[in-house]
Structures are given as C-alpha cells and as structure tokens.
C-alpha cells in the first residue's frame, strides 16, 4: 500500500509561524550551505578571497536564471528539458547575426526573442495539443540543438563585438559581476511573482489540482503557456550571458545544462510532482551547487567527480526528510 498519495494540504496562510520556519526546507538548505562554505574555507586557503568568491558566482548565475522560471513550471506540474538546446539555438542565431554585421543591441534582442519563440513553441505543443511536456521537450531538445548543428556543423562562430562581452564578463561594481546583479534582480522578481501575486497562487493551484483550478476559473492552458514562454525567455537571457562570457558559439554549447537546472530546482525543495516549492529554496540551492563545484574546483577535483557530489547531494537532501519522518514514527 505504498503508492496511494495522500491528499495534499494547501496552507491557508502563506506566512508560516516561526517554529515551522526553523524546520523548513529552506532552513535545511541554509545549514547545508553554511556547512559547505565552512568546509571550503578550511579546505582551501584561496577560498575566502573576494575575487575567488566573485568567480564562484559564475558557476550558478546562468543556470540559476533559468532555474527560477523552471521552478514555476515544475510547480505547475510541467517540465522543460529543452532549455539547454534553446541556449544553443539562440547562441547560434546570435552568431549568424554577428556574421551579418549586427551590433550589440541587436544581438541581445535576437537572443531573447529566439528564446521566447522556442518557449512559445513548447507551450503551444503542450497546451494546444494537450501533450505531455516531458516528451514534447525531449523532442524539441533534439530539434532546437539539431538546428544549431545543421547551421554550424563542426564550425564555430567567433568575432563578437567587444561591447557584447560586458554581459558575461563585466563587473558592475568592484567584484560584483553583471551576471550576479541580474541573478539577484531575477530572484526578487520571481519571488514576488510566485509568492505575492495572484498569478503565483494560480501556479500553485494548477500544480496541486489542475482540474479543480480549471473549475475555479483559472485559465490553466494560458497560464502554462505563459510559464513555457517565461522559461524560454530566461533561457534566451542565459544564452546571451553564456555567449558573451565564452565569446564563441559551438552547437554543443551548454550541453547537459537542463539536468543541472532541474537538479537545482529539485534541490531547492520544489516538488517534482508539482504544487509545492519556493524561490528562496531555489536561490539557496543555486548557491549550494555553486559552492560545491567551486570548492571542489579549488581542490583540483575534476568536474566529473564533482558531479558525483551533486548527484549524491540531490538524493540525500531529498531522502533526509523522508527518513527523518519515518524514524519519528509518523508516515
């Protein structure tokens, strides 16, 4: 009798009492983040340095930007596996525009518009035709990156204008990068959108029970469509940042990012089944993943071994509360 899900409880009040806040998911993530931060600063003398810490942020800002929109999408009960492919396609289009002599504002516009267009395409397929998003976006993932491969083959686009480099390499003030500022602004915007607007409540309602939401007057299809557009838009923005940071475009750009973004979202406490999650959790998860990869990088641990830690972190953090609850007897 393990598989019958209990009816989910939706809190009437958004603001949790202090006691439950201490035992919340976010609190657990803060503890994990502080622990990893402490371990890192003991493990490497180079860690506690403003410039190191600034470099650290580049590990998660681009993926984090997508993770915000992805969090909303997953809360609504859908998923988008094509985000990394959207990055590749948007980057390829920007590369083509550079070849045609486009300037920086045009490039940024192209990146964002292509991202938005890809997201809208996903959204149309899912909401208009009623298809499961996981399959649709596996398909568009091949399609979008496939188009990038058709255009580029084994070539690469280079020669981006020097003013374009600001988005991925520029600093707003001292060691605070443009990417970090954008990440923090997006965090606030998405926090407000999800937790303080009726749109956000609708997203939760859809994730908890799409049919009940429909009967309550929520336009489920349109809301989901908008969420796919948002995810595409954020992927487009991320594409501008990555392309600017790397200064070149290959069709294999951002390969595997989709899984890292989803890991970030799930680690942040968003239920993969939909209906629950918070932006604060996603921000913390982004920091944690950045801390882990950067800290291990300072210790000369190869990237592939880092991925073991990320994978273990994901499973352990998800499993801990379940084991904890079971040990205390209640199930």
């Amino acid at each position: 009798m393990t598989d019958i899900p209990a009816p989910r409880r939706i809190p009437d009040r958004l603001d949790k009492p202090f006691r439950s806040a201490i035992f919340s998911w976010e609190a657990l993530l803060v503890v994990v983040a502080v622990a990893i931060f402490a371990i890192n600063s003991f493990a490497s003398p180079y860690f506690l340095d403003p410039y190191s810490l600034s470099d650290l942020t580049f590990n998660f800002t681009e993926k984090g930007l997508i993770a915000f929109a992805m969090a909303l999408l997953i809360i609504s009960g859908e998923i988008d596996l094509s985000v990394a492919a959207i990055i590749a396609l948007a980057s390829t289009m920007m590369g083509m525009a550079v070849q045609a002599g486009a300037g920086t504002p045009v490039l940024v516009a192209i990146g964002i518009v292509v991202g938005l267009g890809c997201g809208a395409f996903n959204g149309l397929l899912v909401t208009r035709l009623g298809l499961p998003s996981i399959v649709v976006t596996i398909g568009t993932m091949s399609l979008f990156r496939g188009i990038a491969f058709i255009i580029l083959g084994d070539q690469a686009y280079k020669g981006y204008p020097s003013s374009f480099a600001f988005f991925g390499q520029g600093y707003v003030w001292w060691v605070v990068s443009f990417e970090l500022v954008l990440f923090l602004i997006a965090a606030v915007v998405y926090w407000f959108l999800l937790h303080r607007t009726s749109f956000g409540r609708r997203v939760f309602a859809i994730g908890n029970n799409p049919i009940a939401a429909q009967f309550s007057g929520v336009r489920v299809g349109r809301t989901k469509f908008l969420l796919f557009c948002l995810t595409g838009l954020m992927s487009g923005i991320a594409s501008v940042l990555i392309t600017s940071r790397l200064g070149s475009t290959r069709p294999s750009i951002a390969q595997g990012y989709e899984l890292e973004v989803i890991t970030m979202v799930v680690l942040g406490g968003v239920s993969i089944l939909g209906g629950a999650g918070s932006i604060v959790g996603v921000v913390l998860a982004a920091f944690i993943m950045g801390l882990v990869t950067f800290g291990l990088g300072l210790l000369n641990v190869p990237g592939i071994v880092m991925s073991i830690f990320i994978g273990l972190l994901l499973i352990i953090v998800i499993a801990l509360p379940i084991v904890w609850r079971r040990l205390r007897g209640g199930r």
Partner: protein
C-alpha cells in the same frame, strides 16, 4: 481488418516501410536484405535498451540512468578483460548483468523504500554512475589493443549468417515478449501503469513491482554496457553520454505512453529501428549527419502528436482517481 488497423505497431511498420522505400529511390542498395540485416545489427543495442526502458515507463516511472549504467558497467568489464584476458566471455556477460543489476537495484530501492520520484532518483544516479566510472578508471581509456580478441570478436561471430549481436537482440526481444504477454509480472506492470490505485486493490505490490522493473532496466543497461564497449572497442567516461534521451525517444516513437500503461514490445523495437534506419540512411543519401538530431527531434514530436490522438479515444480510466 478494421481492428487490425487500430494497432499502432502496424502504422509504425508502414511508416518504416515507406521510409525504406523513400531511401531506396535515392540509393537502391539500401533495401537490399544484406544491408537491412546490417541496419538491424547496428540498432540491436538501442532495441535492447529501449525494451529495458519500456518496462520502466509502463509503470509511470522513468530511468534516466541507463546510459550511465551502460558506461560504468562497460568500463568494469573492459578493465576486467584488460587485466584478466583469460576470463571467458559468457562469464563477463554474467558479470555485466550483475553489475547492472546492482546499479538498477539502487535506483529501485530508492524509488520503492523512500518513495522518491523516479525522475529525481535517476537524475541523481545519472551523474553518480558516470562520475563513478571516472573514479574507477582514473580517467583513463581502455583501448582496442588492451582488449582480448575474444572480447571484441564474440558479438561479431556469425551464427547462421547473422552476427551474435543480432541474435542477442532477438533473444532479448523474445524474452520481453514472453514477460509482457505471458507472465503475471508483465500483466502487473501494465496494471500499475493504467491505474496504480486499482492495482493495489487487485493485490499487486506496486512498490515491489517498481523495484523489479528498475532491476530489469539495470540488467539491460549492464548487458548493453558489454555489447557497446565490444562493438565500439573503446571504454571511456564519455561512452554513451546523453544516450538516455535516445532510448526514451525510441520508446516514444514506438508508441509507449510516458503516462504509463500503454506500449508493447513490438512498438519499442520498431521505434528503435526507426531511429536506426534514419541514422544509417543519412550518410548513404548524402545528407550531412548533422541533420540527424533535428530529424529525430521532429520524429519524436510527430510521434507524440499522433499517439496522443490515439490515446484520447480510449476510455481507459474506469475508476475514479483517489488522489486530489
């Protein structure tokens, strides 16, 4: 005749025949039986993997870790072979099956005992297993010159004019056919996908059955690990990187519903063959292989659009869902 046309597999088979016909207008030798045998052989590993994935998807779960499992197990048998060339190949295959079984059982236990959604579990183990391959090998490759001639030659040996690899695929297809249509386990797998709640009331242990399907997909991943390494004669951390999505694509094209409960052995095999034919045909009709990704992406979208149309007509949920 009308009932006959309802089977999705018939339409998929027709699509494959049309596809082969179209290709042979450009390149007549493609439809040659010898070449088609070659295409079947090339697609064998994908077919085997798609069958393993199918049983998981049928229970409303997903196994994203199959390609990483393949990579890890492949490295284990390759290193074993390089260190002890005397170990006979059948024993190595047993080792591959067992290693794969252990990796699959880890997935299954997490899904069964801790009730973590399978997509989260296998997303985690996807990176863990591939990372473990690096730790195991120290980042080194196992090249062809370190593998024994038997290790490489086993699957290439011809038996009744067909390579052993194809025979293994045929054997696996047969086993899955028996499993899905002639055993209680196969019926339980379908039942869970169609309606998990009703399955519980019908006396099926849903959690344990899910554990078993992950063990099956793990063993399939392990078996494919040996087959893949001995076919492409290189074992490295990069083996089959991202291939998990090809496996799922084969299932989707084969008409296996990601919502569970719908799908057949024939569908999975044909779905894999469809992808195999495309990847084999592109070079001979002078289309750059860079087109392959976009074509298979379009095929997935088209397949899911067509499948959704078919599924909507069936009233398959007969009991009210208890979940909110």
């Amino acid at each position: 005749m009308k009932a006959f046309l309802k089977y999705r597999e018939i339409w998929l088979l027709a699509a494959i025949v049309v596809l082969i016909g179209l290709i042979s207008t450009r390149f007549p030798a493609f439809a040659d039986p010898g070449n088609l045998r070659q295409v079947f052989n090339d697609t064998s590993i994908l077919m085997i993997l798609a069958l393993g994935q199918m049983v998981v998807i049928l229970t409303r779960s997903i196994d994203l870790s199959m390609a990483s499992n393949l990579c890890f197990t492949g490295m284990v048998v390759a290193m074993l072979n390089a260190a002890h060339p005397a170990i006979p190949i059948p024993l190595l295959i047993v080792v591959a099956l067992l290693v794969g079984l252990v990796l699959g059982a880890i997935n299954g236990l997490l899904v069964w005992r801790l009730n973590i959604p399978s997509i989260v579990v296998t997303l985690g183990t996807l990176t863990i297993y591939r990372g473990a391959t690096f730790v195991l090998s120290g980042g080194a490759w196992v090249n062809a010159d370190k593998m024994s001639p038997d290790f490489i030659g086993f699957q290439r040996a011809a038996f009744l004019g067909i390579p052993v690899l194809s025979w293994i695929a045929i054997l696996v297809i047969g086993l899955f056919f028996v499993l899905m249509t002639r055993t209680a386990l196969g019926r339980s797998i379908y039942a869970i996908g169609v309606n998990p709640t009703a399955s519980v009331y019908a006396g099926i242990d849903v959690g344990r059955t899910k554990f078993i399907v992950f063990c099956i997909s793990g063993m399939i991943g392990g078996l494919s690990g040996y087959l893949w390494i001995s076919r492409y004669v290189i074992a490295s951390v990069e083996v089959a990187n991202g291939y998990e999505l090809n496996i799922i694509a084969a299932c989707v094209i084969g008409g296996i519903s990601i919502a569970g409960g719908i799908g057949s052995v024939g569908g999975a095999v044909l779905g894999a063959l469809f992808l195999g034919i495309i990847s084999n045909a592109l070079p001979v009709i002078n289309i750059s292989p860079f087109w392959q990704m976009a074509i298979s992406g379009s095929a997935i979208i088209l397949a899911v659009v067509l499948n959704a149309r078919g599924e909507r007509q069936q009233g398959r949920i007969i009991l009210r869902k208890v979940e909110a």
